[in-house]
């Protein structure tokens, strides 16, 4: 938390007037949103507020009907998902997408970008990519170790528990060496005992110099790790500020938190 307060506002992601409609229904209509470098931003809001849709649009998994967004100074509006990921903007999914039929290690190795062995013309010639693969392997093992999964590296991802899959997904995303990590409900379906370990990893991402945006419903989690909170409702941003500012915001209480969770002033 400490290093965020003195950081100069330096947006890594700037969203301008992004609109997404479904059958005439406006799912997302965000006029302006900036995510600052080296911070953890929580995205909260009721169901159907458009959080996941906004995620999908920004990461190239859905198209916008209007608007533009810049990532790290580059206009990336409408880029396909894989290019955005290569650019350093990596996401995870609400329902984990651990690749169940691959081993844990293969899941990790898959994450590394720019592998020459992934090109079909190079792939048959093992000597061309063996050294590179070894380096990737080491990096993957180190990360698995970090996330407490190294004992499971040879197992199929299908055999992991839900929480472990979330950990694997996050570790795999780090193999891409992202600048910005977008986590869609990283704690959903995770055993409470594992939540702390996950939170610790999220904080470490920021401490390593990355930027994190995450969607979350558990206000305890939101309050404990975010530097900034953005609240969406009916496709719009209704509040944007420090966690304290946002939970005190009457609109947020009305639309999302309910009276029980409003902080006593």
């Amino acid at each position: 938390m400490s290093n965020s307060s003195d950081a100069v506002p330096d947006p890594i992601l700037v969203v301008e007037s992004v609109v997404r409609r479904f059958d005439g229904l406006v799912a997302v209509s965000v006029d302006h949103l900036a995510v600052h470098r080296h911070t953890i931003t929580a995205l909260i809001g009721p169901n159907g507020a458009g959080k996941t849709t906004l995620f999908n649009v920004l990461t190239g998994f859905d198209r916008a009907d209007a608007g533009s967004w810049k990532f790290d100074g580059v206009d990336v509006s409408g880029w396909p998902a894989y290019r955005l990921a290569r650019q350093g903007m990596v996401r995870t999914f609400q329902l984990t997408k651990a690749l169940a039929g691959l081993t844990v290690l293969d899941n990790m190795l898959l994450g590394a970008s720019g592998q020459s062995g992934e090109r079909i013309v190079v792939a048959p010639f093992r000597f061309r990519w063996r050294a590179e693969e070894r380096a990737t392997h080491e990096r993957a093992l180190a990360l698995l170790d970090d996330f407490g999964l190294s004992a499971r590296q040879r197992d199929l991802a299908a055999t992991l528990s839900g929480g472990q899959r979330k950990l694997l997904e996050m570790a795999r995303a780090l193999m891409v060496e992202p600048k910005l990590v977008m986590l869609d409900e990283p704690m959903a379906g995770v055993n409470p005992a594992l939540v702390q370990s996950l939170l610790h990893h999220v904080q470490r991402l920021r401490d390593e110099g990355r930027t994190v945006v995450f969607v979350e419903h558990d206000m305890d989690v939101v309050m404990s790790i975010s530097d900034r909170v953005v609240c969406m409702a009916e496709g719009r941003v209704i509040a944007d500020g420090t966690p304290e500012e946002v939970v005190d915001n009457q609109a947020v209480v009305d639309a999302y938190l309910g009276q029980r969770h409003a902080r006593a002033r």
Partner: protein
């Protein structure tokens, strides 16, 4: 633009499609087996502007020796069994051609037969001065094609609704649906014409065919699909099983009913009635009326009745339907029964047309049915009806410009084009992502 009505083309079996010879001709065994049997044959279909040319004698000979001959039947079909692979001379007996019809090349001097299966040989004829019956204007030709397209489309629609309902309620892409179509027509034909049988009138025979096919559908559901679903087999596994089942049934039909097409005792060769520019036998209008009425009844039942609601609910959310007290397995069984009955009706209607009843008639129709179902949006029964009409009309009307041996290709090209423009089908709804 071809000179419609002037150039008369007679196709080989290959005409409506080489699909006719089914999967038989898949590959050739060059190694000689100890088996002495041979199922090699040469065949074809003689038609004039889609009108059959019966009574033409065709001979096949090797060297100087004639190995077999055949006379084209009511539908213009002929088939000669030959001793085995080799080069034959296949020739039309020009003197047996109807007056005015000329063969461009009455002799195929070096026709190669390679392997033990049915093979097609084509003869191209011209009709000299005489036009196709009637002497129609271009507009008339077009209109007649359009009407026959509607008839064909309604039949495809009947078959497609069943396939679509089955897909909706069970998630199965049923490659054996064509065999249900064939089964209905074959049973009806048996009851209608078998010499030792009851020789019931076609209406009754059709009903019996439908009931029998409904029972076949029920048997398949109870004996095959339900146990597979209970063992949690996925959709892809069941799809592959349906491919195996299709082969199994289709070739059993061939064993029992042999290759040649057959026709029902009634309504086989009616004479056309002139109705303005339209020239179709009354039979065709009756077929259209029956199909349309059936589709309307099915559509209304799906909308209005409790059973229809249940079917739609199961297609929508299977587990939730059972949680609402719907007997999901019971509904699935009913869908198989009614899907089978609709397919059988389609089969009988198809069998009344010029191609007759044949062991692989349903298989030949299968891709067209698929095209209809996909066009309408997978699993949407109303879409399947609409898709059937579109495919049927397009493939018939398309022959106005293109040779009619491309008829099936037209339906499939339309399918691909529509998928490009509108992947969710004509009536499908685009799914929300995320």
């Amino acid at each position: 633009m071809p000179k419609a009505g002037r150039v008369v083309v007679v196709f080989g079996l290959a005409s409506i499609s080489a699909l006719l010879s089914g999967g038989r001709a898949h590959a050739v065994t060059t190694t000689t087996t100890t088996s002495t049997a041979s199922a090699a044959s040469i065949g074809g279909m003689l038609t004039v502007d889609n009108h059959p040319v019966p009574g033409v004698r065709v001979t096949a000979s090797r060297g100087a020796a004639e190995v077999g001959h055949a006379v084209s039947d009511r539908r213009g079909a002929w088939r000669i069994g030959v001793p085995g692979p080799g080069t034959y001379k296949v020739a039309l007996d020009v003197s047996t051609l109807p007056s005015g019809v000329r063969a461009e090349r009455p002799e195929l001097a070096e026709y190669r037969v390679f392997g033990s299966f049915a093979q097609s040989a084509g003869f191209t004829l011209s009709a000299g001065q005489s036009k196709a019956p009637g002497g129609q204007s271009r507009l008339d030709v077009f209109l007649n094609l359009f009407v026959s397209g509607i008839r064909f489309g309604l039949i495809v629609g009947l078959c497609a609704v069943g396939l679509s309902l089955i897909y909706g309620t069970t998630g199965l892409v049923n490659f054996a649906h064509g065999e249900l179509v064939t089964f209905g027509a074959l049973i009806a034909w048996l009851v209608n014409t078998m010499s030792s049988g009851p020789k019931l009138p076609l209406v009754l025979a059709a009903i019996i065919g439908m009931i029998a096919t409904g029972l076949l559908g029920a048997t398949l559901e109870l004996g095959l699909w339900r146990p597979m679903v209970r063992r949690r087999s996925g959709a892809s596994g069941r799809m592959l099983v349906s491919i195996g089942l299709a082969l199994f049934l289709r070739y059993i039909y061939e064993v029992i009913f042999k290759g040649a097409p057959r026709s029902f005792r009634q309504y086989a060769a009616p004479s056309p009635v002139k109705l303005g520019p339209l020239q179709s036998p009354v039979r065709d209008y009756v077929i259209m009326a029956i199909c349309l009425a059936t589709l309307l009844v099915v559509g209304t039942m799906l909308r209005r009745t409790r059973l229809g609601t249940a079917i739609r609910a199961v297609s929508d959310e299977r587990d939730l339907s059972s949680a609402s007290g719907i007997n999901v397995e019971g509904v699935t069984l009913l869908v198989w029964i009614s899907g089978g009955m609709l397919a059988a009706l389609g089969g009988v209607m198809l069998g009344m047309g010029s191609q007759g009843v044949q062991w692989n008639m349903g298989f030949r129709l299968l891709l067209t049915i698929f095209a209809a179902v996909v066009l309408g949006g997978l699993g949407n029964p109303y879409g399947a009806m609409a898709g059937g009409l579109v495919v049927g009309v397009a493939s018939q009307v398309g022959t106005y410009w293109l040779p009619s041996d491309l008829q099936f290709a037209i339906a499939l090209v339309i399918l691909i084009l529509v998928l490009l423009a509108r992947p969710q089908g004509i009536l499908g709804v685009r799914e929300r992502i995320g």
